[in-house]
């Protein structure tokens, strides 16, 4: 049954991706090539890491909009600190510093949300503004292009590189492995640990979770710290790959991220979300962002297209569920 298929966001998003690729391939035969694939994968790294984090928060029944500010803060502050005191550190230590910084900022969200039990949207809207303002006021607002050497070094480390038949180059940086590791780790946490199952349980009903003895405060705290650390990682990878630490970067991306996650079937009410769906959502958003340009459609159409995709992609299943409910009632 076609209807049953379409009721699942994942199937719907996968079909839209296929349709989109088919359309792109018809209008430009060069679309179906390894360089397109590596471009898409490369462009999906930052959005992907962010989305995995945002999905985790949605599953726990919350919403986080501050992660982009955390990412910018962690990335820029780490860079400034390194250039000042320790420019020679290896890349993995640099990454660790950024992740710890991100986790610390996540702690602030965690304390406000898990301990004081404040509404998550309001808290993260507030901290988004505070983190960003603090960064620009006290840390700096100048772009830095002379990054520490090992950050530049990391951006040159390639998993795959080669030349296409038509002479064009393609490559996939090792940064992609970071996304893979994040996905595998998050999958393990969500599906193989009691902590992960507790995140689902809290998203389903936090009152029930309290009653059966889940430490709701601890679990929520973990979620925001984990998301903070992922944001720190995404921020520092972003700076390395673009070879530029720009404190104005990243903030503003949060809506695309939440769009990707919601397209992938996570529910804003909590309790539902899959990694497959999230990654498909990311793929679709990246595809739209990149391919519209390739197809010669003005980039201003991106936001219209993404908006329509969200309305259709999340509205259709919701509308079908309503209709099924009305029929059952």
């Amino acid at each position: 049954m076609k209807n049953i298929n379409l009721a699942r966001n994942e199937v719907l998003v996968a079909l839209v991706i296929l349709a989109f690729c088919a359309f792109a391939a018809l209008s430009d035969p060069r679309f179906l090539s390894i360089p397109t694939l590596t471009d898409l994968l490369r462009n999906g790294i930052i959005l992907g890491i962010f989305s995995v984090g945002a999905m985790l928060v949605l599953v726990s029944g919350g919403i986080d909009v501050s992660f982009t500010a955390i990412a910018a803060f962690a990335m820029y502050t780490t860079t400034v600190f390194l250039l000042e005191y320790a420019p020679g550190l290896p890349w993995y230590v640099i990454f660790a510093i950024a992740m710890v910084l991100g986790a610390l900022l996540g702690c602030i969200n965690g304390v406000l949300i898990a301990v004081f039990r404040l509404p998550t949207l309001i808290v993260t809207l507030g901290t988004l503004s505070v983190f960003r303002g603090f960064l620009l006021t006290f840390v700096g607002s100048k772009m830095i292009s002379a990054l520490p050497p090992d950050m530049r070094g990391f951006s040159r480390m390639m998993m795959v590189r080669g030349t296409n038949a038509d002479g064009s180059f393609y490559s996939l940086p090792w940064a992609f492995a970071a996304l893979v590791i994040v996905v595998v780790l998050t999958w393990f946490i969500l599906h193989k640990t009691m902590l992960g199952r507790s995140i689902f349980a809290i998203g389903g009903s936090d009152e029930s979770a309290r009653r059966i003895g889940i430490h709701v405060t601890r679990v929520q705290f973990f979620v925001y710290v984990y998301v903070g650390a992922l944001a720190g990682l995404a921020g520092i990878i972003h700076a390395s790959m673009s070879r530029l630490a720009n404190p104005f970067d990243l903030v503003g991306l949060e809506l695309s991220v939440i769009a990707a996650v919601v397209l992938g079937g996570a529910r804003l009410a909590g309790g539902y979300g899959t990694l497959t769906g999230t990654l498909l959502g990311v793929a679709l958003i990246v595809l739209v962002q990149n391919s519209l340009i390739v197809l010669g459609i003005p980039s201003t159409f991106q936001s219209i297209t993404i908006g329509i995709l969200i309305l259709v992609g999340t509205g259709l299943p919701a509308w079908q569920a309503k209709r099924a409910e009305a029929r059952a009632a």
Binding site: R197, F200, A201, I212
Partner: protein, 497 residues
């Protein structure tokens, strides 16, 4: 288990005060392994306080509690759970987004303190407990997709998986149909044979009486009656709970010349109900009953336009009413009090008088402004007429008891001066005393010439209020009975056959 063993739970002289108000006064209570006990009482009698103390949620102010003969200090939820005392709350406290298997095994795995989630182990635990209660529910089904009775069974299984020795069930039958209650009772019998004790806490007890050994009745925080279940029946239970005789008398006969008020003909909705037709006369109370899924609720909603029928007509005083449009139905003079007043009928956090007045905004609309004095005055009049017990009309409706909340919904509709009032489950979740008062209100309304339709599966309620009964089965009206021609046994038989 012999009677010489110490009881599973023994409470002596337990007292609980909330800021000076005595909620439980010097109560003794015991329950033995394999025993089922009914704890009866109206709202505010102290039932909930007693459960909360047993579950370790609230500390007691005085008294001793022994679990299997061992004196307990201050209880905590953990300590009670370790002793095998499990409470199944009215809302079941399940996770709608998780599978049946995971819901059943979650507590067990949590208390095993392991960091990893063992899916195979969870499925094994779940399959075993489901087998123990003898029901077949798909392990992978999401709990949100289950019918109420299966949700309840899942909650029972979760308690059993935690080695429950005493299962406390809060209002276990409220949401179940008669047939589902039978299934539940069968399972309770199995549990008792297994040595598990069960404490029913309810104000709708006649149904569970047959599996119980003992009945304990609380009123105003004190134990007013205790004895073998065989010595109680509905009437004596009610007397003990309310402290007075609540006699249910059938309604006065309908005047022979009462005009037809509402006419329903050929009402059908594909797959839901078929060819429904009946007349409702002024001053008549018409009962509609049927098991869950018989189409009774859908019919009630269709009469008020909340469900759009495919074909058919509804006329009121000869004028046709457009189908599927609740606003037009309300304007024509039909009122509908939903079954689930908490989610469908009330603005819980809004004040009592606002909840009444919201139906009358258009009548007090003075251009851009509202005549607030008139609006509030009328709302308060209605609160007084229906004797809603409240301290302050500005207090949120949430603070009222079930019976009083129901009266607020009624007041809202009556303020609009309807001609026909549809009451879906008028006394669901309402205690015995309030219930008979609501029945009196229904009779009084009929006397004033309203047509009333009562949809219910509470047979004594139907017999006490209705002139005529329609029985629905599989979406059709299968039986029409004059109220005085039947009794509870006969009616129950006609419903279930």
């Amino acid at each position: 288990m012999s009677d010489t063993d110490p009881p599973l739970v023994e409470m002596t002289g337990v007292t609980k005060k909330y800021s000076g108000i005595v909620a439980l006064s010097n109560v003794d209570f015991t329950i033995r392994a394999g025993e089922a006990v009914c704890l009866a009482g109206e709202n505010g009698s102290g039932k909930s306080t007693l459960i909360k103390i047993l579950a370790g949620v609230e500390p007691r102010n005085a008294g001793d509690i022994r679990f299997s003969g061992v004196a307990q200090g201050a209880l905590s939820p953990r300590a009670s759970a370790d002793a095998g005392v499990m409470v199944i709350f009215q809302d079941f406290s399940l996770f709608p987004n998780l599978s049946v298997a995971e819901n059943i095994a979650f507590s067990t795995q949590l208390s095993a303190q392991g960091a990893l989630y063992r899916k195979a182990e969870a499925r094994r635990i779940a399959a075993e407990t489901l087998k123990r209660v003898g029901v077949d529910i798909s392990l992978d089904a999401r709990v949100e997709s289950l019918p109420v009775v299966h949700k309840q069974l899942t909650a029972i299984c979760r308690a059993l998986a935690m080695d429950a020795r005493l299962i406390i069930m809060d209002e276990p039958t409220t949401a179940l149909t008669e047939r589902e209650v039978k299934t539940l009772l069968g399972i309770i019998r199995r549990l008792k044979a297994d040595g598990v004790a069960v404490l029913f806490v309810s104000h709708k007890l006649a149904e569970v009486l047959e599996v119980c050994e003992k009945v304990v009745v609380l009123r105003n925080g004190e134990k007013v009656a205790e004895g073998p279940a065989t010595e109680f029946d509905s009437a004596s239970l009610t007397r003990a709970m309310t402290g007075r005789d609540v006699a249910e008398t059938p309604p006065d006969p309908l005047a022979a010349d009462a005009p037809v008020l509402m006419k329903v003909a050929g009402l059908s909705k594909d797959g839901v109900f078929h060819d429904i037709g009946f007349d409702l006369r002024a001053g008549e109370v018409l009962g509609v009953s049927g098991l869950l899924g018989s189409g009774r609720t859908e019919l009630a909603k269709a009469l008020f336009g909340l469900v759009a029928p495919d074909t058919g007509t509804i006329t009121l005083n000869g004028a046709p009413i457009p189908l599927g449009d609740p606003l037009k139905a309300a304007a024509a003079g039909i009122g509908y009090v939903p079954e689930d007043r908490l989610t469908e009928g009330l603005f819980l956090d809004q004040s009592i008088q606002r909840n009444v007045a919201v139906g009358r905004l258009d009548a007090y609309d003075r251009g851009a402004m509202l005549d607030l004095a008139g609006l509030w005055g009328e709302a308060r009049d209605w609160l007084k007429k229906l004797s809603v017990k409240h301290s302050d009309p500005e207090a949120p409706v949430r603070s009222l008891s079930g019976g009083n909340q129901q009266r607020v919904v009624l007041a809202r509709w009556l303020a609009r001066g309807p001609k026909v009032l549809i009451l879906n489950g008028p006394s669901v979740g309402v205690d015995v005393g309030s219930k008979s008062e609501i029945h009196d209100i229904i009779q009084a309304l009929a006397h004033e010439g309203l047509g009333v339709i009562v949809i219910s599966d509470d047979l004594p309620e139907l017999l006490a209020t209705c002139h005529r009964l329609l029985v629905m089965k599989g979406g059709r009206i299968t039986d029409e009975i004059i109220g005085t021609d039947t009794d509870e046994t006969d009616l129950g038989h006609r419903l279930a056959s």
